[in-house]
């Protein structure tokens, strides 16, 4: 239970970090909160030659709550989100999901950008970023590039990051007025890796759904955006009391589309069932939260 040897660097600037990462190429790893990376090193699932600890780069510890968007830098911890009142009010979906990330000591150290970079299929932050139409800001030796969240996540524990690159920032647009959102997950014990979960966001105007977002957690390949379900709901009249038909059609699309894998925690069939249950709960709660708040 001890990591293999690595070369350890703790640069003070992003430029220096990117130079070291670039030199290391595929043998280098970024160490931020370490709450996913350190277990993998201790268990020797990973044994990188070079660790670039970014914790001393003050410029990455940036959390900006703007009028139009929220910017979360690479050193912002889960707990930092929960301690920020304007953030919790403007991005309640992000806050609600963050309360369900692991346990207090993990939330004190683990970073939002780290969770997104890791893309564990049961993680909260990748699905929230997709649901909120967020953007991933990537830096590397060749400069910066930005990707929409959905293009960033490419599969189980896989992302569009190239060797030598790292996530420096996430941006979340402010949800418009009339939006309700909810994040729900199911785990055997509070804070454990979720077996399944769902993030839903509905923007309503005069009883019509202007925009629907629904993302399922825990289906094996990172966030699963339920496009077919979103199409069922978009531009549809969805009443507070007569939404059952629309939601039932959307949930049927979710259950038909997900393709979860079997593992020690749950069978594929059970995960598929849970995807529908989680989607239903998230949509119901999101709708109840539209308007009037």
């Amino acid at each position: 239970m001890k990591p293999a040897w690595f070369d350890y660097y703790a640069p003070r600037s992003l430029e220096e970090a990117l130079r070291i990462l670039g030199d290391a190429g595929p043998d280098g790893r970024v160490l931020a909160g370490g709450q996913s990376l350190m277990p993998m090193l201790n268990l020797r699932i990973l044994s990188p030659d070079v660790l670039v600890d970014i914790n001393r780069i003050e410029a990455l510890n940036r959390l900006d709550v703007g009028a139009d968007s929220l910017t979360v830098g690479a050193l912002v911890r889960h707990a930092d989100l929960l301690r920020n009142t304007p953030l919790r009010e403007g991005w309640p979906l992000l806050a609600e999901a963050t309360t369900q990330v692991a346990h207090p000591a993990i939330r004190n150290r683990g970073t939002v950008c780290g969770s997104v970079s890791h893309n564990d299929p049961s993680a909260e932050h990748p699905s929230v970023l997709v649901t909120l139409d967020g953007t991933v800001v990537i830096a590397g030796g060749a400069g910066r590039r930005e990707l929409p969240a959905e293009q960033f996540f490419t599969g189980m524990l896989a992302t569009a990051l190239e060797p030598g690159e790292m996530v420096v920032e996430l941006r979340y647009p402010r949800p418009p007025a009339g939006t309700g959102a909810a994040f729900v997950e199911f785990a055997r014990r509070l804070g454990d890796f979720a077996i399944a979960g769902a993030a839903a966001m509905l923007t309503m105007r005069d009883g019509v759904c202007e925009k629907a977002r629904l993302t399922i957690v825990g289906m094996g390949e990172g966030p699963f955006r339920a496009h077919a379900a979103e199409e069922i709901l978009t531009a549809r009249r969805i009443g507070r009391k007569d939404h059952q038909d629309a939601f039932a059609e959307a949930i049927a699309k979710v259950v038909a589309a997900v393709n979860p894998t079997d593992d020690v925690h749950a069978s594929s069939a059970y995960r598929r069932h849970l995807a529908g249950v989680m989607a239903a709960r998230a949509l119901e709660t999101a709708l109840a939260r539209t308007g009037g708040h």
């Binding site: 001890k2 703790a10 370490g34 201790n42 600890d53 692991a102 346990h103 993990i106 004190n108 150290r109």
Partner: protein, 160 residues
């Protein structure tokens, strides 16, 4: 590249200046280099919570932090909870009075986690206590007494 680095840390108010292997965990540093064996190691991958310490005022898993990362940090372990005159911390006293430890293996992490909870939320209800402690496993399954102890400190029912 040097495989050892010099670090300066303050643990329980005492300053240390040590040279450590870069791959050494903070937990192993505290236990094997400082000989403060009150911090326990269970799973070594962040699940059990036994190694939880206070790092710059926030609870952290010492098994998921490298010793070199603690350079310049202020750390409090269970050995630092007692007052200088030996008086138990109110949370320790409450654990004592409520029979909130059996084998004692989880206790150091439970105490650090519970103390942080009451700093952030001085009046938690039972559910909030259970949520805060959900990342600390007690293999004796003595959770009820632990929850009672934390609530008794919040209600100022302990004698300590």
């Amino acid at each position: 590249m040097a495989r050892e680095q010099r670090i300066q840390v303050t643990v329980n108010g005492k300053a240390y200046d040590k040279t450590v292997p870069v791959r050494l965990s903070l937990a192993d540093f505290i236990r094997e280099h400082l000989h403060l064996t009150g911090t326990h190691l269970g799973c070594e991958h962040g699940v059990c919570g036994a190694c939880t310490i206070s790092l710059n005022g926030r609870s952290a898993r010492s098994c998921l932090t490298l010793a070199v990362q603690a350079d310049g940090a202020e750390i409090v372990t269970i050995e630092g909870l007692r007052a200088a005159d030996g008086t138990r911390h109110p949370m320790q006293q409450a654990f004592h009075e409520n029979f909130a430890l059996q084998c004692g293996y989880c206790t150091p992490g439970m105490l650090i986690t519970a103390i942080e909870l009451l700093q952030e939320n001085p009046n938690p209800n039972e559910q909030e206590v259970r949520e805060a402690l959900s990342g600390n496993l007690c293999r004796c399954t003595g959770y009820q007494a632990i929850v009672n102890a934390v609530l008794s400190v919040a209600r100022k029912e302990t004698t300590g």
